[in-house]
């Protein structure tokens, strides 16, 4: 699946999962989910569930999130998220 399609999917899933959140004005691969989108860690867990429902398959989202901390990252970019989806969807 193309990155453009995955960005569109992400946008659709996030808008449905977090209807109270204002959609960001402009997002790209460098957009950070915590610092720029203001998401909380539990919202990423929810997002993982919603993405599994959207694509109708189990995704290794838990290990992906755990990998953030184990490599010392303090945020997650949409580019990383899309790369993860490209690998598993």
């Amino acid at each position: 699946m193309s990155p453009d399609q995955l960005y569109r999917d992400l946008s659709t899933v996030m808008a449905a999962a977090f209807p109270d959140r204002d959609p960001p004005e402009a997002v790209g691969p460098d957009t950070r989910v915590f610092a720029d989108l203001g998401m909380a860690s539990i919202e990423l867990v929810v997002l993982g569930e919603r993405l599994e429902q959207f694509y109708g398959r189990k995704l290794p989202f838990g290990p992906f999130l755990a990998g953030l901390r184990s490599r010392g990252a303090d945020d997650l970019s949409l580019g990383e998220l899309v790369a993860f989806l490209q690998q598993h969807v």
């Binding site: 867990v45 838990g62 999130l65 953030l68 945020d75």
Partner: protein, 288 residues
């Protein structure tokens, strides 16, 4: 599906793995992301367990009813979730207040709990043995942080005051705390005002029937994992002395949140004790 209605409350949960059941219960003001980001569910699942994590009522992505926040209420939630998901007798790992919920569930619903692993839990019913009751290091840290933006939390733990203070923050104070807590910690800060809409602050430190005698009467194996710099080491010693067969262990280089502060040591200890409690001599932690 990630939601289940238990005891009249919609709870958000996750499951991974297959095998005997393990349930992870987080602390007050936390949520199940603390386990997920530490990789604990996957590590335990790799040892042949089915791992369920969920958000306590009022927390994370679960519903937030106005009342029902004692450990007895939460034990009823646990039992209802356990029944709704069709789990078998579970080994329950609880951090801090989550451990109180786990032990209370083991007393009230012994058919649903096969064993309990406590991580740095404080029991209101044991306050008489705990010299640090009300003034644990984590509260001192919190008080200092809020003090930097001109908010006085008081010397002794008062969750209701914390939640109300979070509601009353001026925009400047909220911005300053956002900067201190950073991009990730901000999520924790922003959920505090929502708990002010509930009785959580007033009820979470209630004894709720879990007296010292009741704690000592728990009929399931208990493991006490307490942190090296825990404020509650007297509680750990009491549990070891009063609960037959209680195994106590110190997690090094941690002060109340070992799953984050020393993830490898905490994970290894949990895996080892789960394997032992499940009757597996080899122990999953031996594989890494």
């Amino acid at each position: 599906m990630p939601d289940v209605v238990a005891n009249g409350v919609r709870l958000f949960y996750q499951q991974t793995g297959a095998g005997p059941d393990v349930v992870l219960v987080h602390a007050v003001t936390s949520n199940q992301a603390v386990w997920v980001f530490a990789g604990l569910p996957e590590a335990i699942a790799a040892d042949g367990f089915r791992v369920t994590t969920y958000d306590l009522r009022g927390h994370g992505a679960s519903d937030r009813p106005p009342t029902g926040y004692t450990s007895a209420d939460m034990a009823a939630d646990f039992a209802a979730l356990h029944a709704a998901l069709g789990l078998g007798p579970a080994l329950v790992v609880g951090h801090s207040f989550g451990g109180v919920v786990a032990l209370h569930a083991a007393l009230l619903h012994p058919d649903r709990v096969a064993g309990v692993i406590l991580s740095d839990s404080f029991f209101p019913g044991l306050r008489h043995v705990e010299p640090n009751y009300g003034r644990p290091n984590v509260w001192v840290d919190l008080r200092e942080t809020f003090g930097k933006v001109g908010v006085e939390l008081g010397e002794t733990v008062d969750f209701a005051h914390l939640f109300r203070s979070a509601v009353d923050l001026t925009p400047d104070q909220a911005k300053a705390l956002d900067d201190i807590y950073g991009a990730v910690g901000r999520g924790w800060l922003r959920q505090l005002p929502r708990l002010a809409e509930t009785t959580c602050g007033a009820e979470v430190l209630a004894e709720a029937g879990l007296t010292a005698d009741r704690v000592a009467a728990v009929g399931r194996p208990v493991v006490a994992l307490y942190d090296e710099f825990s404020p509650f080491l007297a509680t750990s010693r009491w549990l070891e002395q009063h609960l037959p067969g209680c195994a106590a262990e110190v997690i090094p280089a941690a002060k109340h949140l070992a799953v984050v502060e020393n993830t490898p040591a905490f994970t290894a200890a949990v895996r080892r004790h789960l394997a032992r409690l499940a009757g597996r001599a080899d122990g999953g932690a031996a594989r890494g």
